[in-house]
Subunit: 410 residues, 2 copies
């Protein structure tokens, strides 16, 4: 009575079980390693930030730090210099195993960038460490092409989830970031598992993730819905501006033919700018300002200053990542919006925090889930609307030039 | 200096704005109508359930009720009898506008089913009302083929979001249910907007959604992770069993050539069974048992009884939907798992609530988000793991036979 399809269905639970055990093993190993690498990154950045803030003269050495990072990548890291884009490219058209040295190099480059006062993030570093660690198992476990795609997703998920303490957001981010406007579920199970295990492994180390709170959430009504849409639109344009400006500075610095010169000169300009404006609030990760954006009155131009500092720092070839600066830009932009939109400060800051990031990376669902994991479920609808509208208004390119357009935004 | 692609990108915000305004208008109208239709459904079901429980003799008339539903659909509803599958089919290969009568017919059929004591749900009805209402705008607004796909998603999102009070889950469900293992973002903005507006519109009416609580959530650790995976596996098999059994009974009843006879005979069997076992806890929506599953000790076989009753009721041609019964099956199955898995009762019930549904409909991300919207973010990782593992173990067919397989599960 049962058709062939039904018969196949009725026994496919056995391969499912084999698949589950296989990926549970792989994800456990990669998760523990990538989570521990994220812990090392977080601790190193904590130390670098503390040291810089209590020895501010070190910022004067930013050009030297930049030169060192530039030289190291020029002579030892040309095969890994494309960073996140390299992971995306290997996912789309597998070519060769990501060299393991991507991990130590990006860790070194990121710590140097933060120690001497560049403006950058950390997710790029965590994702690259996760990806490079994960891809070694392609060799060791002799995985085929399809499995290797999953392994890359696993590495990205593990790195992202553990560096921010957001396991589900990391898992969805890794699936969502590969193709703009489309998500495939082939790697869903492994991605979730890797995110959860890496987050657990990272927290086994004495690290701490910053806590944010969004408590003031008005009920959804026609007026608040319109405010949320307008906010999302502004966040989308913020994300777009960040992508464009980073691209602009990257192209500009490429005019210097000898790559190590780029961070040398870029570092000199950033150090000079910090000296002239007399504050370090726009360099480094900027976590204190992100936290302040949830309740304090900040200058309205904070987001613009951070945007320029980060786009310039990354364009010059410093290492780190874009996401924490995007959180900064979004949270301060949300904070600035209280002058025109009657929504609570913490809600607007939280919406901006995730929505500018969603816009620049084209990952609206991961960012909505991230907001829920970081700020709680109370504002879920606002986060969702902000991320989706921002996604729609950020154009079809983002900060990852190797992202493929899978379906148009409208 | 800017390439053509950049120029295009820089101006694509204008079409985005036009798109936003257009879909804001369409979603507002459809959302208000579909949300109000859901409110009418919820109120009617509330009345039908109250009436049945205080006039239990009416269950004896279930065969008559079934005959009426069967006759009505046979003589007036052949063009809308495929229900949810019809919406999926029109999404994949647009053929003709869904007749508006799908909405009143399914409302009538569902209320009759519940009044006389069939075991069924309500989401199928809400989704069909939403879809039928939405698709009328295809005519009135002269929408093209691409826009019509979005309209169908909008209708499904609005119906689902409003009937359960879960706007984001409704929005993601509508995108996720169309293709197994793949999600496209073309309709993302409209879907979110429709879910939020329909939920708001439904709550403007004097309806109430049941509240559940999952408070006891242990930290994730190697042992609890394994328990969550095992639970997910069991929930996946539960979802699979439901799909198979519903399919089995549907095929069985098809042997009766005259369709109105099917619910007549099916109704007689169900009424007899209720009389013999002496309880009405396995018919109707079963909300009181779902609520009890979060803290009470229930008989371990509750899930199995509900599974058989619902598969039989729906196979016989009664109307309603599968989702609330799937919640029931999942929550009671989770409740039964406390005998073998050392996780808190409310957490297991909550995991089962969404995971059996995720398994049967192949919508793991919507179900994870739904759990967060219904139970809070505390157990998010457990919900995510349960839904993803259940999804993996439920095979490549589900309760919607018109769902297309977009990517294999492993």
């Amino acid at each position: 009575m049962a058709s062939i399809k039904e018969k196949l269905t009725s026994i496919e639970q056995i391969p499912s079980l084999v698949y589950l055990c296989k990926w549970l093993l792989i994800c456990a190993i990669i998760g523990v390693l990538a989570g521990s690498a994220s812990a090392a990154l977080l601790e190193s950045l904590h130390w670098a930030t503390e040291y810089r803030e209590s020895h501010k003269w070190i910022i004067a050495l930013l050009p030297i730090g930049g030169l060192i990072v530039g030289l190291v990548y020029h002579y030892f890291g040309t095969s890994v210099v494309k960073g996140n884009n390299q992971l995306l490219e290997e996912f789309h058209s597998p070519n060769k195993i990501i060299p393991f040295k991507m991990a130590p190099l990006v860790l070194f480059g990121t710590v140097m960038t933060h120690l001497f006062g560049g403006s950058a993030g950390r997710e790029g570093s965590a994702v690259q460490m996760g990806g490079a660690i994960a891809d070694q198992f392609t060799k060791w476990f002799k995985l085929n092409k399809d499995d290797r795609k999953i392994v890359i997703v696993v590495g990205v998920s593990a790195g992202f989830a553990s560096v921010f303490g957001t396991p589900l957001a990391g898992a969805i981010f890794a699936l969502e970031v590969m193709v703009l406007g489309r998500m495939r579920y082939d790697a869903l199970f492994a991605s979730v598992l890797a995110g959860v295990i890496a987050d657990y492994a990272c927290k086994m180390w004495p690290v701490h993730h910053t806590h944010y709170g969004v408590e003031n959430v008005p009920g959804i009504a026609p007026d608040t819905l319109i405010y949320a849409i307008v906010a999302g639109l502004v966040f989308g344009l913020g994300g777009l501006a960040f992508s464009k400006l980073t691209h602009f500075f990257t192209v500009l610095f490429k005019k210097l033919n000898y790559p190590p010169l780029r961070p040398l000169i870029g570092g000199a300009v950033v150090a000079m700018a910090v000296y002239l404006i007399g504050t370090t609030k726009y360099i480094g990760l900027g976590v204190p300002t992100i936290v302040a954006a949830f309740d304090a009155d900040l200058p309205w131009y904070d987001f613009a200053a951070k945007l320029v500092f980060t786009a310039f720092t990354l364009g010059a070839g410093f290492k780190g990542g874009e996401v924490t600066p995007l959180f900064y830009i979004g949270a301060t932009l949300g904070n600035a919006l209280i002058w025109i939109l009657p929504l609570p400060t913490d809600l607007l800051a939280g919406m901006g925090f995730v929505a500018v990031f969603a816009a620049a990376t084209n990952t609206p669902i991961a960012c909505t889930v991230m907001a829920i994991e970081l700020f709680g479920a109370k504002g879920a609808v606002y986060f969702g609307i902000a991320c989706v509208v921002a996604y729609m208004f950020s154009g079809h390119s983002g900060i990852y030039s190797s992202q493929i357009v899978g379906s148009p935004k409208h």
